[in-house]
């Protein structure tokens, strides 16, 4: 456990975040976009846990916060999926490109 340095966690988080960001910005399918957003959230969680162990003042608070974040992310995913469902029922599509009715 002690062999793995902080930077490895941070790099893992960075890689995960970048993959998530890339997916969120480029994918056409709204479900994939939602999954990508989950990836970015979890990258943040990894950062929180890593800093709670290796930070300047290690404390359990970081892990508690990450639990909160996971909870909130679950709720947010539920809401996101619900919106997506109703959108699909109305528009018969999950393509993000076609969801531009708020432009004016």
């Amino acid at each position: 456990m002690t062999g793995v340095p902080l930077s490895a966690y941070l790099v893992l988080a960075l890689v995960l975040f970048c993959i998530g960001l890339y997916g969120a910005l480029t994918k056409r399918n709204a479900v994939i976009v939602l999954i990508s957003i989950e990836l970015m959230l979890n990258a943040a969680n990894i950062n929180l846990v890593a800093f709670s162990k290796f930070g300047v003042t290690p404390s359990i608070t970081g892990q508690v916060f990450s639990l909160f974040t996971i909870t909130i992310a679950a709720a947010e995913a539920a809401v996101g999926l619900a919106i997506l469902m109703s959108l699909y029922r109305n528009r018969k599509t999950v393509n993000v490109d076609e969801m531009d009715i708020m432009k004016h």
Partner: protein, 623 residues
Amino acid sequence: MMENAWLIPIFPLVTFLVLLLSGGRLRERGAYIGIIFTLASFVLSVLALVERLTAPTYKTTMDWLSIGGTQLTAGFEINQLNALMLVIVSFVSLLVQIYSLGYMKGEERFSTFYAYLGFFTFAMLGLVMAPNLVQLYFFWELVGVGSFLLIGFYFYRQEAKDAAKKAFIMTRIGDVGLLIGIILLFWETGSFEYEEIFQAVQAGVIPDGSITLIAILIFIGAVGKSGQFPLHTWLPDAMEGPTPVSALIHAATMVAAGVYLVATMFPLFLASDAAMQVVAVTGGFTAIFAASIATVQKDIKRVLAYSTISQLGFMMLALGTAGYVAGVFHLMTHAFFKALLFLAAGSVIHAIHTQDIERMGGLWGRLKWTGPLFLAGTLAISGFPLLSGFFSKDEILMAAWANGNYFLFSLAVITSFLTAFYMFRLFFMIFAGESRIQAEQVKESPAIMLLPMLVLGILAVVGGYIQTPWFGTFLGEWLVEGNEAVLGSGHSEGPVWIMLLAVLIALAGIFLAYMIYAKTKLPREWLVKKDSTLYRILENKFYIDEIYYFTIVQLIKGIGLFLSYVERFIIGGLVTTVTGSIEGLGKIGSKLQSGQVQQYGMIAFLGLAVLLVIFALTGGYLR
């Protein structure tokens, strides 16, 4: 009474406002309002005149504006000339309004007509009472507006519309001259008040060149209003207005405003020989020029219009040859007999519904009142002995002779002959010879129209006796009283043969017209062949309208076309460029808002990345 003289123009203004605000609901009752108020004006004018006969000039002013050290005043003045003009204007206006009750019967816009008449009367009375040039100019323009409204009264007829516009524009050309003259005068003397200006002129403060220039500019204003050559072309066209209007505006009042202006500014004109020459020559030329046109015209009102121009030329000639009294005297007698002639012409038109004298004839027995009245006016204007026109025309001839200008004198004599000839040509063509119209169609006008004509007829006959070489020169002495040094004596002395010559000339003209048009002893083509060049030139009024059309109008149109292209392409192009670029910017901006959330996210991310790069490079410090 003179303290309350300011009420004189107020009464017609009240008429105008009441009739305007009632919006035509009063119909024919509007006429009675107009007549009663004008009657009040007339009574006040007469009272003011009677009082002015003995009392000195009354003048009152109040400060209107003060700009720097300059005080602009407003007020009114009752001197001899003003008092006389007030009576003439309000009197003719009153008679014309009474006459119109009959003439305009059945007219849809009856009260509008009286509203306009009231407005015009107000402006004209205000004009003659003005004590300074600013106020004069103010009312001068109002008179122009009133004339525009009245000429264009039948605005649904294209000719009337055009005539109104023409009158307005032509007089406006003169007004510009007047305005420049007033400004120059203010520049030289620092005052708009008549008295101060005349004092400055007499003290020799103003350089001679400036006086001449100013006097000529002011005269240009008079040329426009009084229909003198070369700005005369609007006056014959103005006959498109109702006939009572022609009698009021284009015989007695508005066209006399130009003569009044020259008479008022007479001391200024006297100070410059060149300006006097210009006035006299313009007047003399206009007199003979218009008289020659009048000899061949076929429209009854047009003949009278050219006759008016010619007579106004006479007045200008008199003023230009230092015959102040002669000019004003003729202005007064002319107002009476020309108003009478126009009203009588209106009565003829009313009876037979045509203005073409070729289609008239033999009306003497049918129009028992109009005929003799028309004859009285015709005799008066022709200078028949012992009628009003005889005395005033005589005075003018004397003035021209006394001035030593024999060329202008002979012009005036020839014009007298032409006047007698064309007026009796008109008279005989209407009243003598075979009847060309069915008897039952001809009806004498109602009494309401005959009464004003009768009053004017009496005045046309006896109006001259206030200034005769035999019974005293009352008018002249009164007019120049207290001002003899400037205005000259009250009567021009001249050899007796001038009067005899005038009589002979008038009789010769009448006789010639009688031989040609009444007796038909001489063929109509005795003097000038119908298809000759001279005849055609005269019939087409010396082609003045055409010349104006092909030179000035086309030039202005060309400039207008050029400017419209400037407007359309240069100014319009600029505006389009500005609007186009703004619109383009807006389009680019709206493209940014695509509604694609992913694009927004991408841009936000890129922006963050750029910020981070900058942050990394600068280390967080802005330098």
